[in-house]
């Protein structure tokens, strides 16, 4: 018994040494737009901007939880259906051609959001609607909508308070559901939402301080409403220049929106975060790079012939499937 424990300890130490420089194994993103109705077009554009970036930088859809309270792309008032643009010149269509929304419309509630974070979803919830992060996950949380001092409004009917938000994150920490969290919020008085956080390893950034409004960027006259918020507009502009291999640091990202362009003051909370943001590559949160090991020595396995149960064997001849070239043109069919 003692031998095993010693062996185990030695093994632990080697593993710790081997991986001490890298700390996360997978990435997750929770992106939430909490407001509906056409005049809140900009919030949908915000959340889709971040969605576009994390997806482009490599987080797979299965690890992105996207909550959108309204469907602007297919809104009858949208003059260009199936598009959501980040500016009036239609520079970037943030809707793209492949958006996988996990919670939509009236599913975007405080309850669903807190249940998602804490992992207390009703049994039978599809895996795509669950945050299956673990102690090796870096989680990006992005919230946008209408906020006030100490709360964020969900859908005109309810709100999440900063205390509830902090408690939810603490429950995540206690259950080892994250390694690090990057918390981004683009709302009015955004800084009030992260003031109460008390769990470790969280870096928080908000588009405005308490008492400040967060401002929108510009109006698209053909749409007739504000098209995107300032903070996210500049964040997207920065992220567009990042690629999966690049080594841009998080501290550069924290400075994307100086007061001269944002008008509101971007708030940052670093006291819960252990690492120096200037040494953290932005792809630690916005990308997904898995650690790789090479397989060197192969254990040779002698095959054991296993007898299948006879009843299982299909008696009918198995259907033969084959690959057929995709149909390019109907004229090529010889009918």
């Amino acid at each position: 018994m003692r031998l095993i424990t010693t062996y185990f300890l030695v093994f632990l130490i080697t593993v710790i040494q081997a991986f001490s420089n890298k700390s996360h194994t997978n990435n997750w993103a929770v992106l939430v737009d909490t407001s509906r109705f056409w005049f809140n077009y900009r919030h949908v554009a915000n959340v889709l901007s971040i969605y576009r970036s994390v997806k482009r930088l490599g987080i797979p859809d299965s690890q992105i939880i996207l909550m959108i309270a309204d469907d602007m792309a297919c809104n009858p008032r949208n003059p260009r259906p199936a598009t959501v643009f980040n500016n009036a010149d239609q520079h970037i269509n943030v809707y793209g051609d492949d958006v996988e929304v996990d919670y939509r419309g009236y599913e975007v509630t405080v309850e669903n959001f807190v249940r998602l974070l804490t992992g207390r979803l009703p049994p039978g919830t599809p895996r795509s609607k669950q945050l299956l992060s673990d102690e090796g996950s870096n989680v990006l949380i992005y919230l946008t909508g209408h906020g006030g001092d100490g709360f964020l409004k969900f859908q005109d009917s309810e709100e999440i308070t900063s205390q509830e938000m902090a408690d939810a994150l603490e429950q995540m920490w206690q259950k080892q559901r994250y390694n690090e969290i990057f918390f981004m919020i683009d709302t009015c008085q955004a800084a009030s939402m992260y003031e109460r956080f008390y769990s470790p390893n969280i870096l928080a950034v908000g588009s405005s301080l308490v008492g400040e409004d967060s401002l929108s960027h510009h109006v698209d006259s053909s749409i007739g409403v504000y098209i995107i918020d300032r903070y996210t507009y500049y964040a997207l502009e920065f992220l567009e220049k990042v690629n999966p291999q690049s080594d841009r640091s998080l501290s550069e990202f924290l400075k994307v929106c100086p007061k001269s362009v944002c008008i509101s003051t971007v708030g940052v909370r670093k006291d819960l975060y252990n690492r120096d943001p200037s040494r953290v590559p932005i792809t630690d949160f916005f990308g997904s790079v898995r650690p790789i090991d090479i397989l060197h020595d192969i254990t040779n396995v002698t095959l054991v012939q296993r007898k299948r149960a006879k009843s299982k064997k299909p008696k009918a001849k198995p259907k033969k499937y084959m690959y057929v070239d995709p149909l390019v043109n109907f004229n090529s069919l010889n009918v």
Binding site: T25, I298, M322
Partner: protein, 382 residues
């Protein structure tokens, strides 16, 4: 007695007729007081409190946490896993590959049998046609190369196509990539730029990738039958690396693995229970129903017993109990009912009830002074 009789007619000299009504007023004050304060308040308190079943809190908290910093590089602990075998081929008829998932399952299952006491495995297989690795391969006169730096970027785009997240269990991905004829051979290189003899790599918590180059003969005939033995060996090695077990076929290693996993499960159970106990003291609005309480008690007992069995080297029994403890602690922590008071937090309870109670309570308390004057005057009169 006679004295008292004498006095009573004397006292209410001021309000003779009021006397009989006064006593009813007093009764009504007392009844209001009893209904509201003595019965109502406790009922209100009892029905609106956050329900918590009695828990073995000291046992839950009584646990020293170890430093688990290496944990993120193991497979996430679970009682069952999916093994998803994926055959990926960029050019399906060049050559046609003849291999069936069932055949591999038959070869893998006997090996996995050795650790099936610890975990349950579900083996699935799928084909991905016209699939490209998504990285630019460096070409040489003799071969194509997949360099060490490119390997992570092979896995990232793969994840979108594998659909491994469809299952409720964690998935171990085992991918075989067949290179098409014409672009042969494709080799994997390590950090020292040496060719990797196994032509395969793996990523902790995700799974492994194995690149197979069809031989020239098969390219001529157009039909390629891969060597099941070598694929099985690669898969088994990848699984051993993922689970950090030296040799799945060596009984000593399997024994050590069982001990380690049972210890981990007990450790995880204790950690979960401790976290829960801490949360219960931090956050007041968490509800613990009887059902959840039962699971917690079961987890506490099973974890203790498992630990005892493991210390006495009854590994199989210990493992069984560790599994029970782990399952119940996870279920208890993740139970949806813990959040049932989400919309009614403790700090807002008073904000909701005070406007309701104040208008009723003020007259009741004020009438108490009437009761007092009545009582005092009665005493005096006696």
């Amino acid at each position: 007695m006679s004295n008292g009789k004498k006095k009573t007619p004397k006292n209410p000299a001021k309000s003779d007729e009021n006397d009989e009504e006064l006593i009813f007023r007093i009764y009504s004050i007392i009844s209001f007081f009893v209904v509201l304060i003595v019965i109502g308040l406790p009922i209100w308190w009892y029905t609106t409190r956050v329900y918590r079943a009695t828990l073995p809190l000291t046992q839950m908290e009584n646990h020293v946490l170890n430093n688990n910093s290496e944990k993120e590089f193991r497979m996430p602990l679970s009682l069952e896993y999916d093994v998803l075998i994926t055959f990926a081929h960029s050019d399906p008829l060049n050559p046609e590959v003849r291999i069936k998932g069932e055949d591999l399952e038959d070869k893998l299952l006997p090996v996995l049998e050795s650790i099936s006491q610890v975990f349950d495995f579900v083996i699935k297989s799928q084909w991905l046609y016209t699939f490209d690795l998504g990285v630019k391969l460096t070409k040489n006169e003799k071969y194509y190369a997949l360099s060490r730096d490119q390997l992570p970027h092979v896995i990232t785009p793969l994840e979108a196509k594998l659909w491994s997240h469809m299952s409720p269990r964690p998935t171990i991905n085992l991918l075989v990539y067949f290179q098409r004829c014409g672009d042969l051979p494709l080799y994997v290189f390590d950090e020292k730029n040496q060719r990797v003899s196994s032509n395969s790599f793996f990523s902790s918590r995700w799974g492994g990738v194995h690149v197979i180059n069809p031989d020239e003969e098969s390219c001529k005939t157009g039909v390629f039958t891969p060597n099941l033995q070598s694929i099985t060996s690669i898969f088994v090695t990848q699984l051993q690396k993922l689970f950090k077990i030296d040799n799945m076929l060596d009984p000593d290693d399997v024994y050590e693995f069982k001990v380690r996993k049972s210890t981990e499960m007990v450790e995880s159970t204790r950690r979960t229970l401790k976290s829960l106990a801490e949360l219960l003291s931090e956050i007041k609005s968490i509800v613990i129903s009887e059902d959840v309480g039962e699971k917690i008690r079961l987890a506490v007992i099973s974890a203790d017993m498992a630990k005892e069995y493991l210390q006495n080297s009854y590994v199989d029994k210990g493992l069984e109990l560790a599994r029970v403890a782990f399952k119940n602690s996870e279920e208890a922590f993740g139970d949806p009912s813990l959040l049932s008071l989400l919309y009614f937090p403790e700090d807002q309870k008073y904000a909701v009830y005070i406007p309701l109670f104040l208008p009723i309570m003020i007259p009741v308390f004020m009438s108490l002074s009437t009761l007092r004057t009545w009582y005092v005057s009665k005493k005096k009169s006696e």
